[in-house]
Symmetry: C2
Subunit: 468 residues, 2 copies
C-alpha cells in the first residue's frame, strides 16, 4: 500500500508496525474493545507526527492517537485504520522548580512525572489507579480526573500550554507557561478533553505544586451521606481547604472486598453503610511541627474534627493512619475499586456527576426507580464524594442488553433531573455516544460538530468518537 | 428602517434606543474610543437576546454586546451597528451557599455580586478597580484578571457554567454546576475570553469561595525584584499558599502619586525602587484565634516572615496594617494605578505577562533597548507581580505614532523572547489587533478564524475585534 510505504519512508521501517506487531495495539485495558489496526505508527517528534498527519490527510485515511491504552470507553479503537502511538515521545524536557512547571512530551507515563517532580520537592497532583501506564497525552485528551480533583482540579486545571498537530499536519504552538494570557480564543482548552478528535497533543506545559510535607489520612464510618458532607465541610474549614481526597465506599463494596480479598484487614470491626477515606495534606512547615504532645498540627486538626463529630454522633467510627504503611493500606482498599466493581457480571457501570449536595438525592431516587425494571438488582457505588462524582454500578439479574439500556436511561434520567452529567471524568469515547445523542444539549452538539468540521473537515482524526 | 421596527416589536419601544439616547453608549471608560451606534438594544431575557440575534442574523447586521463599558481596548466600539446592552439582565438568580455557587445573569455588576456573596459569608474573588461598574458578562467575555488571580485564578477559573446565545439566535445551555463534566468539547472556555465575537453570554454559574475571616496586609520595600520573589515564595510556603495579592509599585509610581495625591500619606519615610503591597487571607478558624501575645496566627506568619527577611537584609522596610483603615489605605494606593498611569501624556501602555521568574530580566532588557529609540523616555510599571503581569507604561518624549509603535514593538520583542504574552488580562479588542497580527502563532490565528467562521459565518458578532 502506497501510504504505508510513504509512512515507512518518513518514520523508518521499525516505527511502522503491521501484522502481529500491530495486533497487540488492538485492545485496551477494559478487555471490552478489540480491533485490527491497519498499521501502528510510532513517531519520535512533533515533526514526525506532522509528517504522518500530512500523509494521512492527503490520503483521507483516519488516524487514532493512543497513549497508555488505559481509557475506559473505547476511545482508541481503530478498526482498519492507522494508530498513532505517542509512546516514543516520552521525554520530560524540563522541570523548572522556581516557576513550578514541567515541560513534557505527551508519551510521558504519569508515574514517571510523579517521580521527577518529587525529586524537586514538588508534585504533579493527578492521581489514579492507572498512573503506572497512563500517559500525559491521554490524560490531557480525556481531561482525566482521579482522587485529588477536590484540591487541585482535573487535568485541564493543571495545564498551562500545549503543542498540537492538526488534522492536516500544521503544528500549533500554544506552549505558554503563563498564568495570565488573554491573546485570543482559549484554544488550549478546546483540545483538552477532545479525545484526539480535533488534533494530536504532542507536548504540554504542566503546573507543579508543593508536595505536601505530611498527610493525615483516616477511615471514617458515617450514618449517612448527609453527615459525610458535614464532615467534608468542617474539614475544609478547619484546614483552610487542604482536603486532598474524600472517597466514599458503600457497604456493598466493603462486603465484596472481603470476598475478593480476604487477606485485607477491614477498617472496622463491623461493616457500615457509609465508609469514607479522607486525606488532608500539609504544605506549610507549621502544620508538620509537632506540638507539646507530639502530635503534628495537621493530624491534630483531623483528629479534633473527627472527635467532635463522634461526640455529636454524626459519625460512627474513625481510625487515623499512624504510619505510612497504614496510609498505603487505606489507599489500597480504595484503589481496588475498578477490579472489584468489574469482578461481577452482568453489570451496568457509569461515571456520573451531580452537584455535591445532590448525591444523597440521586441514590434515593435511583433506588426508587430500579425495582420496576429489575426487582433483584444490586448496586455498588464507589465515589469521589468530594466532587459529586460516582462510579455507580448496577448488577442486573439478567444479561439482557435491553434491560441494561433501560437501567442506563433510568440513571441518566435522575442525573439530568439533578442537573448532573452522564460523563464526569472518563470521557465519551465509543461507549457514551448513545448518552451524548440523547442527553447533551442539542445546540451544544451542533456547535461541537461545527468546530469538528472546521478543524478536521475530512473527519480523519479519531472518527466516530465523542460526537454521535 | 425595517430592522429597527422589527426590534421594537420584539423588545418594546423603550428598549430600542436611537439618536441622543443611543449616543451615550458611544464611548467607554478610556475616553480613547467613541462611536455612533445605529441603535442600542436592551433585552431583559435570553429569549429576547435570541430574538435580537435572529433578526440581526437575517439582516446581516452586526451586533456588539456590551456590559459596564469598562473595557480598556475598545472591544465594544460599534460604529453604525447595533449595540446589545446586557444591563437589564441584572438578576442574581440564586446563591446556594452549601454548593458554593452563584447563578447570575450577565448584566450583574461585579460589586453587587461581591455584596450578595458576603451575606452568606462567601466571596466571589474577582477584584479590580472597575468593580462598581463592570458586569459579569464583560468579566467573562474578557476573562478579566485583577488583584486576586494569584490565589483564585482569573474569571475563567471561577466559572462552572454558561448560557450563550449564538450568532443566529440559538440558545446553548451549558449551565453546569459540576466540578467534573467530560461530556464532549469544552465549549464554555471557548466563549470565555472571546470578547463577544462567538456568542452573547447571557447567564453563568459562578464559583464562590469562603470569605477570609481575616487579612494580614503589609507594605514592603525590597532592594530588587529578586528579593521580592523570595518573599513571595516564603510567604506561600509559610501560609500554605494563602497569598491573595502581591503587587509591585515602582519608584516612578510612588513619586507620581506624591504629586497627583499629595493628601496621601506615603508608606515609608523615603521612596524605594521596589514597593510591594502584600496580602494574606485566612480562611481557617485557627488562623484568626489570637495566641498568648494577642497576635492572630495569620498576622504572626506574615510578621515572622518579614522579620526574617529584614534580618537577612533581603528587604529594606515593612509595615503591617494594624486596622481595616490602614489596610484600605494600602489598597487605595494600589487602586490609583489606572488614574496615575494615565495622568501623563504621551504614553504607550501595555498589559503584558512573562513567566514569574523573568520579570526582572524583562525590565533589564527593555531598559537596555529603549534608549536607542528615545533617550529621554521614562517608564512606570505597576504590576501584579505574583502573576508575572505588568502594566508596563512608557512615556516617550514626543507624541509620534511611529515612535509609539516602535516602543510597542520593542516591548513585544522582549516579551516574546521570554515566552510571555502581549495581552495578559485586558483582552485584545481593537487596540491589540496589530500585536495579534504580528505576534500570535500563525497556526493559532488560522484555527481561531476557522472557529469564528464555523460559529458566526456571517461575521455579525462584534466584527473587527480580537481577530486581525
Amino acid at each position: 500500500m502506497e501510504l504505508i510505504e510513504a509512512l515507512r519512508a518518513e518514520l523508518g521501517e521499525a516505527q511502522v508496525l503491521t501484522g502481529a506487531d500491530a495486533a497487540r495495539y488492538g485492545r485496551d485495558v477494559t478487555g471490552k474493545y478489540s480491533w485490527n489496526p491497519l498499521a501502528v505508527l510510532r513517531p519520535a517528534t512533533a515533526g514526525e507526527v506532522s509528517a504522518v498527519m500530512q500523509l494521512a490527510h492527503a490520503a483521507g485515511m483516519p488516524v487514532v492517537p493512543v497513549g497508555g491504552h488505559t481509557g475506559l470507553n473505547g476511545g482508541t479503537s481503530a478498526e482498519g485504520v492507522l494508530m498513532l502511538s505517542l509512546e516514543r515521545m516520552n521525554r520530560i524536557r524540563e522541570i523548572r522548580p522556581e516557576a513550578r512547571v514541567a515541560i513534557v512530551e505527551s508519551g510521558v507515563v504519569l508515574a514517571k512525572l510523579h517521580e521527577a517532580a518529587e525529586q524537586h520537592g514538588l508534585a504533579f497532583p493527578l492521581f489514579f489507579g492507572a498512573r503506572g501506564s497512563a500517559m500525559i497525552g491521554g490524560n490531557l485528551s480525556t481531561n482525566a480526573g482521579g482522587s485529588n480533583v477536590l484540591r487541585y482540579g482535573n487535568t485541564r486545571a493543571l495545564c498551562l500550554g500545549l503543542e498540537v498537530v492538526l488534522a492536516d499536519g500544521r503544528v500549533m504552538d500554544l506552549m505558554s507557561e503563563l498564568h495570565k494570557d488573554n491573546s485570543g480564543y482559549d484554544l488550549k482548552d478546546l483540545f483538552i478533553g477532545a479525545e484526539g478528535t480535533l488534533g494530536v497533543i504532542t507536548a504540554a506545559v504542566l503546573k507543579l505544586v508543593p508536595k505536601p510535607r505530611a498527610y493525615a489520612t483516616a477511615m471514617v464510618a458515617a450514618p449517612s451521606l448527609s453527615e459525610a458532607l458535614v464532615l467534608l465541610n468542617r474539614l475544609q474549614e478547619a484546614t483552610g481547604g487542604a482536603v486532598e481526597a474524600f472517597e466514599f465506599m458503600p457497604r456493598s463494596y466493603m462486603e465484596r472486598m472481603a470476598i475478593c480479598h480476604p487477606e485485607l484487614r477491614p477498617p472496622f470491626g463491623q461493616t457500615y453503610d457509609v465508609t469514607l477515606m479522607v486525606e488532608v495534606g500539609a504544605t506549610a512547615p507549621r502544620d508538620v511541627t509537632p506540638g507539646p504532645d507530639g502530635t503534628v498540627p495537621i493530624a491534630a486538626l483531623l483528629e479534633e474534627t473527627l472527635a467532635g463529630m463522634l461526640e455529636e454522633e454524626m459519625i460512627l467510627d474513625a481510625v487515623v493512619a499512624s504510619s505510612e504503611a497504614q496510609r498505603n493500606e487505606m489507599w489500597h482498599r480504595r484503589e481496588l475499586a475498578a477490579e472489584i466493581t468489574l469482578s461481577r457480571h452482568p453489570l451496568v457501570d457509569t461515571d456520573i456527576a451531580v452537584p455535591l449536595d445532590q448525591v444523597a438525592t440521586f441514590i434515593e431516587r435511583i433506588h426508587a426507580r430500579l425495582p420496576a425494571l429489575d426487582p433483584g438488582f444490586e448496586t455498588m457505588n464507589v465515589a469521589h464524594l468530594g466532587d459529586g462524582n460516582m462510579h455507580f454500578t448496577v448488577y442486573p439479574t439478567s444479561d439482557d442488553p435491553v434491560l441494561a439500556d433501560r437501567i442506563r436511561e433510568a440513571i441518566e434520567d435522575v442525573v439530568l433531573e439533578l442537573r448532573g452529567s452522564f460523563s464526569a471524568e472518563h470521557g465519551v469515547g465509543l461507549s457514551k455516544l448513545p448518552s451524548m445523542r440523547r442527553r447533551k444539549d442539542p445546540v451544544a452538539l451542533e456547535v461541537m460538530r461545527a468546530v469538528k468540521t472546521a478543524l478536521d473537515p475530512k473527519g480523519i482524526l479519531n472518527p466516530g468518537k465523542v460526537l454521535p
